[in-house]
């Protein structure tokens, strides 16, 4: 194809997206669109999968059967989210093995939030409430993104997320209304998860590199700072309601803006964690790679069994 032809195709392609048409896997697409989507969607899938680890840590120690089935169901949902997203990404021509390889070798990133430890039961509350809360804010706009398989996967994901947030907030309500020690535990979890949750919505607009292109392709509809403000404005009243205090001395309602002003985010910490120096980066990858390697004989056995069964069937047919 000549450069002229490619430019033409690109123009038609951008126009289709502007008209709100969906792009499907077999449609022509610019290479950059394909690569950007492979990167973002696979990282999204990795985040769902690695995100099971901090919560998986507490399943066996949930304080009641009710909490245990809920947490188990939530973690299972996250596995499902990972699977929807991996298979949607595969439609772009990358294999599942390549994606795992990128995750396991550290070439692909996943959400930094999962590199923090879950040290008390209250962390299950804080994660559901804040981390899934922030994830919902990130994900809802993706339900109408331009790449069909991604949009469809996100519709399913978003439907399931609201239970995640509610079960987390319910844990916080219970603890906040419990003994002084329980309330303190809830407050401590909020103190530790608040700032990392704000960071989850991404670097400030001034530092964000991909925004303009992402807006065009509907991978983004609002800027990181707008999303962050939305998260803060909706979460602060929820903390007030259960008598917990947001750990930010500068947090203040701004009448004029109709929004909360908030304190400085420690972006050094964010970049440290992104670069692999968070408290749990090594631990998470060790757990993930270990699970993959220890499962190898099971995957091989299943394949061998399937082949044997197929052979037997063939013989019987003769």
């Amino acid at each position: 194809m000549s450069e002229e032809q490619i430019r033409n195709l690109e123009k038609q392609f951008e126009e289709r997206i502007a008209r709100d048409e969906k792009i499907e896997p077999k449609d022509w697409m610019p290479e950059k669109y394909r690569q950007t989507h492979i990167r973002q969607m696979s990282q999204h899938a990795h985040s769902e999968v690695v995100g099971m680890l901090p919560e998986g840590n507490w399943i066996t120690r949930a304080p009641s059967l009710r909490r245990k089935v809920a947490l188990l169901a939530k973690v299972q949902d996250e596995a499902g989210h990972g699977l929807y997203l991996y298979s949607a990404t595969e439609t772009l021509g990358i294999t599942r093995e390549e994606m795992y390889e990128q995750l396991h070798t550290g070439k692909a990133k996943y959400s930094s939030i999962f590199n923090y430890p879950t040290v008390t039961w209250a962390d299950m509350g804080a994660i559901g409430w804040l981390v899934d809360g922030a994830a919902i804010i990130n994900q809802v706009p993706l339900c109408s993104t331009s790449f069909g398989p991604y949009a469809r996967a996100m519709v399913r994901v978003c439907k399931e997320e609201s239970f995640h947030q509610r079960q987390g907030y319910e844990i916080m309500i219970k603890l906040a209304n419990g003994t002084p020690e329980q309330k303190e535990m809830a407050q401590d979890a909020l103190n530790r998860w608040w700032w990392p949750s704000l960071m989850m919505l991404g670097p400030t607009d001034a530092e964000s590199v991909h925004t303009e292109q992402s807006m065009k392709w509907k991978l983004k509809r609002k800027s990181n700072d707008e999303l962050r403000q939305q998260f803060i404005d909706q979460t602060v009243p929820q903390a007030d309601l259960i008598g917990l205090t947001i750990p930010d001395a500068d947090l203040k309602w701004n009448e004029e803006r109709g929004s909360y002003d908030f304190g400085e985010i420690d972006w050094d910490e964010f970049w440290q964690v992104v670069k692999g120096h968070g408290p749990m980066n090594k631990e998470r990858m060790k757990a993930r790679v270990g699970a993959w390697e220890r499962g190898e004989w099971v995957r091989d056995a299943a394949m061998a069994h399937a082949e044997k069964k197929a052979e037997r069937k063939e013989k019987e047919a003769v």
């Binding site: 499907e24 077999k26 449609d27 022509w28 169901a73 299972q76 949902d77 499902g80 699977l83 929807y84 298979s87 949607a88 595969e90 294999t95 599942r96 093995e97 469809r152 996967a153 399931e160 190898e296 995957r299 091989d300 299943a302 394949m303 069994h305 399937a306 069964k309 197929a310």
Partner: protein, 95 residues
Amino acid sequence: MSTKQWPLWEVFVRSKNGLEHRHFGSLHAADADMALENARDVYTRRNEGVSIWVVESKNITASNPEHNGEMFEPAKDKVYRHPTFYELPDEVKYM
């Protein structure tokens, strides 16, 4: 490293009787039985279905969107396939 990867399957789910099976997504599984079980766990955790089909992806032949012209254009100028093509006097009822 495993020598063989589990093949890819496409999953179709009927959400309730009376509706058609609809494409829900895909997954990897060693064989058809496992694909069905995985499809149940991945795509119907909240009663989304009453029936599941799985088809190994390699068995699907898809039309090529680049040939959409030859493929679908011929139907475009056949307006006589639609009831509105036919002119009837206003007095005619129930037609």
